[in-house]
């Protein structure tokens, strides 16, 4: 009998515990649909953190993915419905102006203000204040910090024998890392077409994407920023913030495009047909002395199983130029130090909530869970998530990076290059106005025609300027000007 009583009491305790536990789970029965690109990149962190969040909240995460080309139209289709197909959309920050200006996203300021876990101030200001905000409101939470950095082979550029030969040939010390694109050109020429690492294979000067739809447009702007982003003059990279006149065909842009074409002579064979994914594996295979990329080359080179360059890679902010085009005076300005303004290419992946979601609170809770410091640190230090650091805390601890496979020295250098780029006082954000994809497509098209020899740099950029004007007129010049100024942090005119 005592045994029976004990069993009953125990069963009651368990039952109460279960009922109590279930009652404490605040989103029991709710299903949150998350939409982004297929795993591993970008979707992987959702898969990593969904089980724990589901256990804690009682909700379910339904991950839906689509290839890159289908993301934008499918998101738009869902936004247009009475009830959203996708509660959370994880998308490139460059699309935020399109979505926010059309009223497709839920403002998140109130949620963030009440959220003790997200630690908003830990996110770097450029991301929390500029990248995810629109007309003064926050519409998304950053999950990824994107900027282009410069990669070089330390074993080549720091080799004393090569340094002496370089000085003999070019009349100046081989700069490590290079500070101007002119120096990059010379170094690329020097290391092009011979076996400088003694592996029995011929190596080349550089590897950069040049393929249409292969993210070459971001590479072009990375090469342009030093020529046109004069400190104190906002908007040099894209439009005149007073008139919305395109600046894409300025002498600075033309010079950058001439460099962009010339460096191909010292590129890995077939570079004209390479996208950014391919250049990563080519660099990690040890075929090039220098490259431009997001944080991915660093991870693939230091952690990738097939990398032959582990521990041999140097990291730096993008090179720039001694001369910068002054838009206000219409002339080149010579600076004492090269202008190495960083460029937040792409701007990273962000998570927003659809305006027609029926589970806004639960959706925010999951986004917050993904972005909170401890979880996002795991995301940015796990291979194949596609997420790069964007919080102060991501740069503070090296343990995650070392656990990932970096050496302490490599991790420090890698993080420093990213931090110096993002924290540069003259860092240039990417284009963040409605129609961004159309403006960039026109540039991408022109670049591919220039590298194929169909157009000269000047003619191509003049054509882009015309197309940009047409797009601006079609979307409404005044509105676009207002949005452009806001994206630069300038007050409305």
């Amino acid at each position: 009998m005592r045994m029976f009583r004990k069993s009953v009491v125990l069963a009651l305790v368990v039952l109460v515990g279960l009922v109590g536990g279930a009652a404490a789970r605040k989103y029991e029965g709710v299903t949150i649909t998350v939409f982004t690109q297929p795993p591993p990149y970008i979707a992987k962190p959702v898969m990593m953190f969904a089980p724990d969040w589901e256990k804690a909240t009682g909700a379910k995460i339904n991950l839906v993915t689509a290839p890159w080309g289908e993301l934008y139209p499918k998101m738009y289709a869902s936004f247009g419905l009475a009830e959203a197909l996708f509660d959370i959309v994880i998308f490139p920050a460059a699309w935020l102006p399109d979505f926010a200006s059309a009223g497709f996203l839920v403002p998140l300021d109130e949620f963030i203000a009440k959220d003790p876990y997200i630690q908003w101030e830990d996110i770097l200001p450029i991301y929390r204040e500029r990248i995810v905000s629109w007309e003064g409101k926050v519409y998304a939470v950053p999950l990824d910090g994107d900027c282009h950095i410069f990669y070089y082979r330390k074993d080549a550029l720091e080799n004393p024998e090569y340094q002496a030969k370089f000085k003999e040939k070019y009349g100046y010390d081989l700069p490590v890392p290079p500070k101007t694109w002119k120096q990059v050109r010379d170094i690329a020429e020097f290391f092009h077409g011979w076996d400088w690492d003694g592996d029995g294979q011929v190596e080349y000067g550089v590897v950069e994407p040049r393929r249409y739809a292969g993210q070459a447009d971001w590479c072009f702007f990375s090469r342009t920023v030093g020529y046109v982003a004069l400190p104190g003059q906002p908007g040099g990279l894209f439009f005149d913030p007073e008139t919305m006149e395109p600046r894409i065909n300025s002498p600075g842009h033309v010079r950058a495009l001439e460099d962009y074409v010339e460096i191909m002579k010292y590129g890995v064979p077939g570079m004209i047909n390479m996208d950014s994914g391919e250049i990563r594996s080519v660099f990690a295979a040890g075929l090039a002395a220098m490259a431009i990329d997001w944080g991915d080359i660093g991870v693939i080179s230091e952690v990738g199983e097939e990398s032959t360059v582990r521990g041999k890679v140097g990291y730096a902010v993008l090179p720039g130029s001694d001369e910068v085009w002054d838009f206000s005076r219409g002339t080149w300005v010579k600076l004492a130090e090269p202008n190495q303004a960083g460029y937040l290419a792409f701007g990273g992946w962000v998570a927003g909530i659809a305006h027609n979601s029926k589970h806004i609170e639960a959706a925010y809770d999951f986004i917050s869970y993904l972005s909170r410091p401890e979880n996002s640190y795991i995301s940015v230090t796990t291979p194949e998530t596609g997420f790069n650091p964007y919080r102060y805390s991501h740069f503070e601890k090296l343990s995650g990076w070392i656990g990932m496979g970096f050496s302490a020295e490599a991790a420090e250098a890698y993080l420093k290059a990213i931090k110096d780029t993002i924290g540069h006082p003259n860092v240039q954000p990417d284009l963040r106005i409605p129609g961004q994809a159309r403006y960039f497509e026109a540039v991408d098209r022109a670049l591919s025609r220039v590298v194929a020899g169909e157009l000269t740099p000047k003619a191509a950029l003049d054509e882009v300027a015309k197309i940009w004007d047409q797009i601006t007129n079609e979307l409404g010049r005044d509105k676009q000007l207002l949005y452009y100024r806001l994206s630069l942090g300038l007050p409305p005119k």
Binding site: P73, Y76, D98, A102, I272, E454
Partner: protein
Amino acid sequence: MGNLGQREKRLLISPAVILLLFFTLFPFVFTLALVFGKVSFIGGKIAIQFAGVSNWVRLLHDQRFWNAVLVTLKIVGIAVTAEYCIGLVLALLLYKKPFGCGFFRVLYVVPMLLTPIAVGYTWRMIFDVGRGPITGILQRVGVNPIGWLVDPNIALYSIIITDVWQWTPFMFLLLYAGLEAIPKDYLEAADVDGATAWRKFVYVIMPLLAPPSIAALLLRSVECFKIVDIIYIMTGGGPGQATESLTLFGYNVGFRAFDLAYGATIAFSLFFMVLIAAMFFTMLTRSLRAIRLE
């Protein structure tokens, strides 16, 4: 079934008809609306505003469109002709049932069974100017590497070679089946008359092979007009605009620049081109039938 009236018959097939209409007519009408419209996004809703023929005017003045038309026509003209000729030769070789005929019949068909994406990646690696096997072989015999996919003057032909490699088996299969269907009496009668192999080919085989030939050419041309996957993987339409087909152009405009209305207009222009090609082959079939009846 025999007892069913017209009404019952219609009722029974109506679900299939409704589904067919929904999945073909609705997208067609929607695309048509886009062709004469402009898509905008206001207050969280997608709106299509009437824009008259502005998309068509833009299309006719677009150099990139005319380039894509030319690229597509070149691919269709050269690739389909080559596929037909090679397919015919292979079919004639196997028609005589040589030793190993069964093995070769299966072997010839293999490329057609692969997905275009896999074919694209395979040939992209083969044609790679830096590390591809062709470059390796050429360098061993002292020949400079050829820019198969990176030279604007050659890239289109590399795409055509790949398409021919994948789709010649399709021609081969149809023509082989056509050859098998030729009554043996005709060929025996020609033998009795002392006709040479060439005369038998020209005066007996080819006329009897005309209907399957036209069917094969029509089906392959229609498919080839829509070529996109191989190009997307191998060159992305480049270098420059050297290999951008109409379908790829429409995809880039619609899904990279997100200019849906203009993308739909490009798709419609392709529809007209395919329609013209189909009408041409249908007329050809009718003419041949008329000649045979005479």
